[in-house]
């Protein structure tokens, strides 16, 4: 079975969201994805990293980690921050729920991740941080 993995860390600066997206896309492209599949992964990573920056660290400085794994045709992406954490994960995952309506966020980040990936798991502890694990299986043509 085809296997590969990587782990990257970077500070929670807003310009690193675009960087994170390319890194995961470049890694996923080993699976010979379609534009559509790759765009799904980039969108999901973008939401997870943006959440770490604006909610996890509330725009202060902190470390974000992304682990990626390929096993067969399945990509796993784990985005971790050591920021403020989430009190109630089930509530946070509700479509349209946002704790910061003043930011004009849509409250759809987790919904987007769930839609564009095959699975989503969120683990979080207040003041410890948040770990978002997503998987996606790539079709072959």
């Amino acid at each position: 079975m085809f296997k590969n993995e990587m782990k990257i860390e970077f500070p929670s600066k807003s310009q690193n969201e675009a960087f994170a997206r390319v890194v995961v896309a470049a890694f996923a492209s080993q699976l010979d994805p379609t534009i559509e599949e790759l765009s799904d992964v980039k969108t999901a990573v973008s939401e997870a990293v943006t959440n770490a920056i604006i909610h996890g660290y509330e725009n202060s400085s902190g470390k974000i980690e992304i682990e990626c794994k390929i096993e067969g045709r399945t990509l796993t992406v784990i985005v971790t921050d050591y920021g403020k954490g989430i009190e109630d994960v089930e509530l946070a995952k509700q479509p349209l729920y946002t704790s910061r309506p003043e930011l004009e966020r849509s409250g759809m980040g987790f919904t987007v991740m769930e839609t564009f990936m095959d699975s989503l798991e969120v683990e979080s502890e207040p003041l410890k941080g948040t770990r978002v694990k997503m998987t996606k299986e790539f079709k072959s043509f």
Binding site: A18, V22, S29, Q30, D32, T34, I35, E36, S39, D40
Partner: protein
Amino acid sequence: MGEIKRFIRDDGIIKVSRNVKETAKKVKHAKEKLSKQYGREVTVEEIANELCITSEDVVMSLDSLNAPEYLYETIHQ
């Protein structure tokens, strides 16, 4: 959920390897055109602006034309 996807993206089932190579050709042409125009080397951002794509797309397309075992060639296990 289908609507969210359709709302956010507009591209279909095109293989990335092919698409990246097409971008790479456009990048190459833009680079030649702009460097003639400016009389100097051109930056990634200038090329991105010219082609209305992101700098990341320019970067990802860059070595797809020459490297034989390049990432975007189909890698089958």
